[in-house]
Symmetry: C2
Subunit: 83 residues, 2 copies
Amino acid sequence: MSDLARTPPQIGNLIRRARKKRGLSQSQLGELAGLRQETISLIETGNPAAKLKTILAVLAALDLEFRIVPRSKGAAAELEDIF
Amino acid sequence: MSDLARTPPQIGNLIRRARKKRGLSQSQLGELAGLRQETISLIETGNPAAKLKTILAVLAALDLEFRIVPRSKGAAAELEDIF
DNA sequence: CAGAAATATGCGCTAATTCCGATATTTCAT
DNA sequence: ATGAAATATCGGAATTAGCGCATATTTCTG
């Protein structure tokens, strides 16, 4: 239920759930993102060495995007004007 | 300003601004994140092939994190229960 | 239960990160 | 302007993604 994405496995899980919600197979998503089914599989299982552009391609194909946010209120306060 | 992070350069810019707001040099941030100054430099200038775990290490060192969100209201509606 | 569809795994390959150790080059105070 | 700090760049070594192609394995459907 959370859009929290603090670790590669969490990111992978979210991608997997979004993909399924859209009724896509890994192959179909791969085609949309310009990637192979195997690559989607690796990402969904939490490959920490995946490349940034690869993750971004998958997110874009699912109509998703990253947002960078403070982890805590303290961080939000310290970084005000930015976040 | 926006915390939008749709592309590697945008992500790099945000990281750079957050780092400066915290008064850290690239070397200092690198030390916190377990990375080299050179690597921080590459990330901040928008290297699209940076590894996911590398980006996550930098964000964590800055007390930041990723959030995955829908790009549009339409997407949010289609993916409800997830986002 | 059978057959198909979907997902995970395998090998060889190329490209590119990141590391290490130095060093240009740019930026910034005084 | 000058020196110091900060950032960008270079060669080499190691590691690994993602590709193509093929296949094992799990999951779903009838």
